[in-house]
Amino acid sequence: MVTPLRKKTLAGESYTRDPKIEAKLVELEGLSRDELVARFQIRRRDDSGYMPSECLVYFVRACRADNSTTGFDRLYKILAERVLRSLPQAGNFDGKTASLTKSNISEKVFGRFVELLSADRSEYSEKLDYFEVRFDGALASLRRDAQEQAWRDENRSAPLEFDEETGDLSDEVERAAGSFDLFSAPEIDGSDYRLRLDAAIDALPPDQIRIIEMLRKGIPIDSKEAGAVTIAKALGKSEKTIRTHRDKALAALRVTMSGGER
């Protein structure tokens, strides 16, 4: 009774929903629109009655087959609200430019999502299947898309240049970069710290952001092993260049993070 997904994985098989999601869909299928709306109204994720957005997307799409608008507007708006809540706020943590970028990205993503939903109403849109597989992931994909466009508009995509003049960072900066471990600072559990750190990273040049991300994931800068994944190989730069820009990034972050309120 629950319609299967159509999008195929990279391996060529049909995507399937998480079994828990599938089970919830079966449970919800028999409900009336009003009952459905009531179920989806719970907002807090940590509430035991919270219904995953993957399910909500399914039912909003299923309205395609049903001409009645009863309750559809409420379901649609709940979904739209959830999308907006998942978009980064242009907070007060960073400089003006970064805030504008965030607003632009959020608007773009919301617009794109709404567009996908509308298109799906007249013709099944396989792209929406991703939202039923993993809602947060699919939304992250839209955000990344929008960010790429925003970077292009701002001309931020320029690749890493190895600066010959300041090729070797001064000892002081190296020390500063090394001694400050951003990612395990004592305040790390405070969400305010995390958001500030995220904003600070967002302000870095894209290649530096990538180096930071790969470091956080534990990927080595370089390796003696032939086939190993390394930051140098992934970004197509020398080990030295990567280290230099890592140090620059960490130094910049250190300045930003300690410059803020304590």
Binding site: L10, Y15, D18, R43, R44, R45, T69, D73, Y76, K77, A80, E81, L84, R85, S86, L87, P88, Q89, F110, V114, E115, L117, S118, A119, D120, R121, S122, E123, Y124, S125, K127, Y130, R134, D136, A138, A140, S141, R143, R144, Q147, E148, Q149, R152, R194, L195, D198, I201, P206, I209, R210, E213, M214, K217, G218, I219, G227, V229, A234, L235, G236
Partner: protein
Amino acid sequence: MNSDANKPSREEVLDAFAVEPLHNRETLERYLQEYPQFANELVDMSRELSRVIDADQRPMSPQEQAMIEAAWQKHMSMETKSAKDPLADLSVARLREIALQLDLPRQVLTAFRERRVVVTSVPERFLKKLAGALSCSADLLAGALASQTGSTLARSYKSEGKPAAEAAVTFERLLIDAGVPEAKRADLMSDGD
């Protein structure tokens, strides 16, 4: 075997990565190994996936409420329109984005919107790509494009054989006129399927 036609698009690789059940080092490395040409985008995606969203319970601001309401209104009204013409409602910004996405000069897309392209000269592979960018099916797009050919032909008849500004040209001609380089043209003209 592994022909070019079976190679996943950048979008498919990134979306597949985005909905992976585990977003750890192992997953990222796996994708970086298999799709090194998309390294930058994969790492960017990895960052987006690990971004902490402050999922607060703040009430929706008036602007946000307005956005939601507007989206709903458009959703209900756009239904029939988009079913007929996916190119009609494109904003200038959206047109630009799609042009960037497809790596084409904007005038190529405008030509489609203004029905200045001979539909039968467009390779199916490109139609699918364009349809994908417009979030509609290839059939829908082809139908929409074909439905207004009548008026275009009528105009070109009136010009008595001289090439009129509004006369439809072949897709290849359109690309040449738009200054699309030969290699890219060859790729666009090929029908991988």
